[in-house]
């Protein structure tokens, strides 16, 4: 795995977002080296779909999400959103485009301004964009706050610190909804929440997705959470793609050795499931000097000589199941 290629891209008129050979590199100060955060990722998202992106820390999943928003602009590659190429937009046009794509972040409390009342935080995008009359804005903000399960009256009087983590995440979601976006990029939205609250937020996202006709990109490291919410899942490793398949298919028949290890490593809340994860060799290598060939080769249990020199490309191993590996597990 850990390869390139575009065999998995779909040619459908319903594609909302299409990312092509996305590369994001960050220079390392004073050394002339660079961090290869994302190295040639391609994927597409169809209207109304939820794409999950999973991988370990440093695999480039968050960087990919932010690169779509041009935060910062990618080093190369193209990002087509609804027929508009985002990478070449002017600053003003990009500002415009950001109203259509919104983001929700991991830490709900620090992503809200502590000095502003919650209702004002949710209202602000409407004021910035001068949308509607005051009355229309009030009606909309109240409706959205109710939709996410926050009492508008309390929101008008209280500051973020007066709400719990789960409630703050609901407020972040409300803020992302007021401009009527087409797509929301959720970057680890439930990682900081307790399990009981996590379930509430996941259910809320599912409901809002149906109600507002949203398309979601859901980035997380928790595979069970990603499985629960996603239609398709993309597995990333060290800036490359490993595997892409429908959520149920990917977990039932992981084909990339890395996906298999990831799925295996999850401690299942069931003592009858014997917990004997496949050993992974070592830890991910540095993205400053990634391995040649398949980037997973130094840790891969199925490694062959070819993997050390030739980078695998994404190929369809079963209908709608793509894997970038020379030696995939039997399907």
């Amino acid at each position: 795995m850990a390869g390139t290629g575009k065999a998995h891209l779909r040619n459908s008129p319903d594609v909302l977002l299409s990312v092509n050979e996305l590369v994001v590199e960050f220079p390392v100060a004073r050394t002339g080296l660079k961090v290869n955060a994302v190295s040639g990722i391609s994927f597409d998202v169809i209207k109304g779909e939820t794409l999950g992106i999973v991988g370990e820390s440093g695999c480039g999943k968050s960087t990919t999400g932010r690169a779509i928003m041009q935060l910062p602009a990618p080093t190369s590659g193209s990002i087509d959103f609804n027929g508009q190429e985002l990478t070449t937009l002017s600053k003003d046009d990009m500002r415009d485009a950001r109203t259509k794509i919104q983001m929700i972040f991991q830490d709900p409390i620090s992503s809200l301004n502590p000095r502003r009342k919650v209702r004002d935080i949710v209202l602000e995008p409407l004021l910035v964009w001068k949308r509607g009359t005051q009355e229309e804005r009030d009606i909309l903000v109240n409706k959205i706050l109710e939709d996410v399960g926050i009492d508008p009256q309390r929101a008008a009087e209280s500051y973020p610190h007066q709400f719990s983590g789960g409630q703050c995440q609901r407020i972040s979601i409300a803020r992302s909804l007021v401009l009527d976006p087409q797509m929301i990029i959720c970057d680890e939205p439930v990682s900081a929440l307790d399990v009981s609250v996590q379930a509430q937020v996941i259910n809320l996202l599912e409901d809002l997705k149906a109600k507002y006709g949203l398309t979601l990109i859901f980035i997380a490291h928790d595979l069970a959470v990603v499985k629960s919410i996603s239609d398709r899942v993309l597995v990333m490793y060290l800036g490359k793609m490993c595997e892409l398949a429908s959520s149920d298919d990917l977990y039932a028949r992981p084909s990339h050795p890395y996906t298999n290890i990831l799925v295996d490593s999850i401690p299942e809340p069931d003592p009858e499931v014997i917990y004997a994860p496949t050993a992974v060799m070592g830890e991910p290598p540095s993205p400053i000097n990634p391995p040649a060939g398949c980037r997973f080769n130094p840790r891969c249990p199925n490694v062959q000589d070819r993997c050390r020199v030739e980078e695998p490309e994404m190929r369809e191993i079963a209908p709608a199941h793509f894997v970038a590996c020379h030696n995939p597990l039997t399907y």
């Binding site: 599912e206 595979l223 069970a224 990831l262 003592p271 917990y275 050993a279």
Partner: protein, 355 residues
């Protein structure tokens, strides 16, 4: 692990009615409010709970790691027959490290950033076991090998920032094991780590526990982490243990509606995607003003008027090791009655939706 060897019949740790309160501006926070349990030598106990359930305070209170100011602590902590409650810091020092030690959640902030790894491991060896520098260094190297850190000799001369998160947690484990403790606390030891690394660290902790015949208290919010790694699980809610049972029993026949709700709210890999997750409405109680009756009653689907005024005591099931605190436990006639009502109501709602 629960063999009936006579030496193991006196528990290693016996906690009775432990209370740990903090005085704050808002009032007294009853973080741990009357917890009792015992732990045999070599046994592993998982303490599971949400944030604010008191699980971390409980483990620190047992170890005596809480500050003195604005703290109220009461009850009894018997370790190897010795009462720890009331011991001074100086007296506790002979217990820390050699008898009890702890692995903390965040390996970056728990290690000293300006001290080499070797010295951080050697320090307790010299302090507690009176080793000299060269002995301590050799032992440190051996410990690093035990926790499977490659090239231990080179690592001894490195600083924490030169190691990855998983390696740092291994160093933390090496330090905790250094003086051969009989009881190891691991407070969310894998929460900051990636899942593949988490798997390795959990295996390592378990291996070391078996090899050294240590007892383990594993504190976590992730019920999956304790499922495969502990003999007994205690579920905490609102500063109290609300259910405790051998791991398999807990999963197969939990009694407390909170345990049920907690298990059902976790997304599981065997569920199809988009399976609706069960949720627990509301949020954990405010421990300054805990509810009058059962702490969970305000969020419990099966609560009845009695639950709101009267506090349930821990009750023993037919299995003497399985205790729970609930008036209308899972499986009781009242539980089934309410469950039927709830399912009828949701049927009504869903048919209403279709029309």
């Amino acid at each position: 692990m629960n063999d009936s060897d006579p030496r193991t019949t006196t528990p290693l740790l016996e906690v009775s009615d432990l209370k740990t309160y903090f005085r704050t501006e808002r009032g007294t926070v009853k973080a741990v409010d009357g917890v009792s349990f015992s732990l045999q030598r070599g046994q592993s106990l998982g303490i599971v709970g949400e944030s604010g359930s008191g699980k971390t305070v409980l483990s620190r209170s047992i170890m005596g790691l809480l500050g003195r100011t604005n703290l109220f602590r009461e009850g009894s902590i018997k370790f190897n027959g010795q009462e720890l409650m009331g011991l001074s810091v100086k007296e506790m020092r002979s217990i820390w490290g050699q008898e009890m030690s702890m692995i903390f959640q965040d390996p970056m902030t728990s290690l000293n950033p300006v001290m080499k790894i070797g010295r951080q491991i050697a320090e307790p060896l010299m302090l507690h076991l009176g080793m000299n520098k060269s002995e301590a260094r050799l032992t440190a190297e051996k410990l690093l090998t035990d926790v499977r850190i490659p090239e231990p000799q080179r690592r001894l001369n490195q600083y924490p920032h030169e190691l990855s998160g998983g390696m740092r947690q291994r160093v933390m484990i090496a330090i905790a094991l250094a003086c051969g403790p009989t009881l190891l606390f691991a407070d969310e030891p894998t929460t900051a780590l990636d899942v593949t690394v988490q798997a390795e660290i959990l295996q390592l902790i378990n291996e070391q526990r078996v090899d050294r015949n240590m007892s383990l208290i594993l504190v976590t919010h992730n019920i999956g982490v304790v499922a495969g790694n502990t003999d007994v699980i205690a579920v905490m809610y609102g500063g109290k243990i609300v259910e405790k049972a051998p791991t398999k029993t807990l999963f197969s026949s939990y009694k407390m509606p909170y345990t049920e709700a907690l298990m059902r709210s976790i997304p599981k890999l065997r569920q199809a995607s988009h399976t609706r997750l069960a949720t627990i409405p509301g949020r954990p109680p405010d421990m300054v003003n805990p509810p009058l009756g059962c702490n969970f009653a305000p969020r419990c689907a099966y609560a009845r008027p009695k639950c709101l005024v009267e506090e349930p005591e821990l009750t023993v099931t037919e299995n003497p090791e399985h205790v729970y605190a609930c008036f209308y436990p899972v499986g009781s006639p009242e539980y089934h009655e309410r469950k039927l009502e709830l399912s009828q109501r949701s049927d009504l709602l869903s048919t209403g939706g279709q029309n």
